[in-house]
């Protein structure tokens, strides 16, 4: 299966669930900003969850299916449209060869993940297919997608993917009656982001900590895949002084010298030296990945133990979801 990019959109990159093994070499994690949506798109197709997908940022991209294709997409900020057919999200969609697909803007969210049967076939570099923009490797030639780029899918597909393909293929666009229930995995309140107090939490004064946990923070337009910058109540230090640089991770909320919050995202440096007020619960990090400039959120504190429990529960739900898709074809 093959697609060709006609219009790349603002920032479109090939990503998987990240490059975990080379953090000690200073290599950022990379991978999908919203791994939950990337995994859901793969699960809907019966793919492996870490197969490579395309991450689109906002609407505007346009691509053509050069061969017939089996795709699925998930995320926010856009819908895929072919001619006058809106392709439904979170389920397998069959495209006949020659179909042009447009990314049309939708409110809420900003990143959408396109999966293809067998995953996009770019080379595995340092254990991942993700694009590392900083060092210019991974993904498609280490860069964002451009007009004219051609992407092929992997030749190996699972039994489930083959069965879905057999059930849909024909001469026209078609899709399944079922979808993966993405909404069931979303928290009821998507403006509330749960956080665990971080190691330097006690370095900040109590008034600021109350502000941090009770007042809204608004995404600044300067945000990108390395970090989300927030406007809101500034955070004052109780304990002055410098800290020694140490490992940070996506989800770490640093407080810069002028008291502003920077939430590190998946392209962040592997080490950092700003004091950390909190760590966003992994289950809520995808909410931050889908924020648009001027969107506001609240931070709500939970314990590390709760965060871990939520993490394990979400993994179990995703596992069950994958099994449910597979079980349709036994």
């Amino acid at each position: 299966m093959r697609l060709r990019i006609i219009k790349p959109g603002l920032l479109s990159t090939v990503q998987d669930t990240g490059r975990r093994l080379y953090l000690s070499h200073g290599v950022p994690l990379s991978g999908a900003m919203d791994t939950l949506s990337a995994r859901l798109a793969n699960i809907a197709l019966g793919n492996n969850e870490d197969d490579a997908v395309i991450e689109f940022t906002y609407a505007g991209a346009l691509f053509i299916a050069e061969t017939s294709m089996l795709i699925a997409y998930a995320g926010g900020g856009m819908a895929l449209v072919a001619g006058d057919t809106t392709l439904p999200a979170n389920r397998p969609v069959y495209l006949s060869a020659g179909t042009q697909v447009q990314c049309i803007s939708r409110p809420q969210g900003c990143r959408t993940y396109l999966a293809v049967a067998g995953g996009f076939n770019v080379p595995v570099i340092l254990g991942s297919r993700s694009t590392c923009i900083t060092a210019g490797f991974g993904g498609l030639q280490g860069r964002a997608l451009q007009k004219g780029d051609v992407l092929d899918s992997g030749a190996e597909i699972t039994f489930t993917t083959r069965s879905i393909l057999n059930s849909l293929q024909g001469s026209t666009i078609s899709f399944t009656g079922w979808s993966v229930a993405a909404h069931l995995l979303q928290p009821a309140d998507t403006s509330r982001v749960r956080v665990v107090p971080a190691h330097e939490f006690n370095w900040f004064d109590s008034r600021s900590v109350i502000d941090f946990l009770t007042t809204p923070y608004t995404l600044n337009v300067s945000s990108n895949r390395m970090g989300c910058n927030f406007d809101g109540a500034t955070i004052e230090r109780l304990i002055p002084g410098e800290m020694l640089s140490t490992a940070v991770a996506p989800g770490t909320i640093q407080v810069t010298g002028n008291g502003r919050l920077v939430l590190l995202m998946t392209d962040c440096q592997t080490t950092g030296g700003y004091p950390r007020i909190a760590q966003v619960a992994a289950v809520d990090l995808h909410l931050c990945s889908q924020l648009n400039p001027d969107d506001s959120i609240y931070f709500k504190d939970i314990t590390a133990r709760e965060a871990q429990k939520l993490y394990i529960e979400l993994e179990q739900q995703l596992y069950k979801l994958a099994v449910t898709v597979k079980s349709r074809f036994y």
Binding site: R20, H25, G26, H199, A247, G251, A282, A304
Partner: protein, 257 residues
């Protein structure tokens, strides 16, 4: 609520460390709050011990000045019958204690010495004269002070393959450029404040550039992509412009190491 919840104490006496929660997928071992070679040795020893005796779900350990952060898959950690404890941090703490057992494999922690050839000044080091002027030295003295020191790699971070080096002579300390350069070439050797280092990739940068190495400090095609790692010793060796160009043609690292 306290930021101190989930801190565990391990080791004894001089070997004491604390373990704190970094994320659902990582804990950090902290060995004091100072930059010194003793702490570096302890960080390095635990890094090597963990890599020689990995636990189920382990995927990376990131050393820094006084910390070692351990990244893992929480599902595998919680499912493993080899590990016991109610949550990941308890399981990791117990695992770290088990590394003090006499039966675990004790790895060699000898560091590597890496010679880095540098062509100083001219187009390779456009700020050499500024560094000399700021510090009341001749350009030749700057070069000599810079390459006679022996440097220690404390950590890798900032960008892939970038080494934080200790050991620069304080006579060379120079403030960063007022206006950072939009593009610093890969291999540029610079001074920023009281630090020195090599830019592994072409990036924007504010350090004073005194030279350039033809060595590739980061190679994504290699299984060990970063030339340097925490605990290594670095020696800069002056080379001529001809040697620099020759190196680019032959790419013969063995000639320098």
């Amino acid at each position: 609520m306290s930021g101190d919840n989930f801190i565990h104490i391990g080791g004894q006496g001089k070997a004491a460390y604390t373990v704190y929660y970094l994320s659902e997928q990582a804990v950090t071992m902290q060995f004091g709050n100072d930059i010194n070679t003793g702490t570096l040795q302890r960080v390095k020893r635990y890094h090597a011990l963990i890599e020689a005796n990995p636990f189920p779900g382990f995927y990376a350990a990131v050393p820094a000045y006084a910390t070692l952060s351990i990244f893992y898959n929480p599902v595998e950690v919680m499912q493993s019958p080899e590990l016991s404890g109610a949550d990941c941090i308890n399981r990791l703490t117990a695992y770290l204690k088990s590394l003090d057992d006499v039966n675990v494999a004790e790895p060699s922690t000898c560091g590597t010495t890496v010679n880095i050839p540098v062509c100083y000044g001219g187009k390779f080091g456009p700020d050499l004269s500024e560094v000399a002027a700021v510090n009341g030295l001749s350009e030749q003295q700057v070069i000599q002070l810079h390459n006679e020191a022996v440097y220690t790699v404390y950590m890798i971070g900032f960008v892939p393959g970038f080494a934080y080096l200790g050991g620069m002579n304080s006579l060379l300390a120079t403030p960063r450029k007022q206006q950072p350069r939009v593009a610093v070439p890969a291999g540029a050797v610079g001074i920023g404040g009281n630090q020195t280092g090599v830019y592994p990739l072409a990036t924007p940068g504010g350090w004073q550039l005194i030279g350039q190495t033809p060595l590739q400090l980061f190679d994504a095609a290699s299984e060990q992509p970063s030339l340097l790692k925490a605990g290594d010793t670095v020696v800069f060796k002056p080379i001529s412009a001809d040697e620099f160009n020759n190196y680019l043609i032959t790419g013969n690292a063995a000639a320098y190491n």
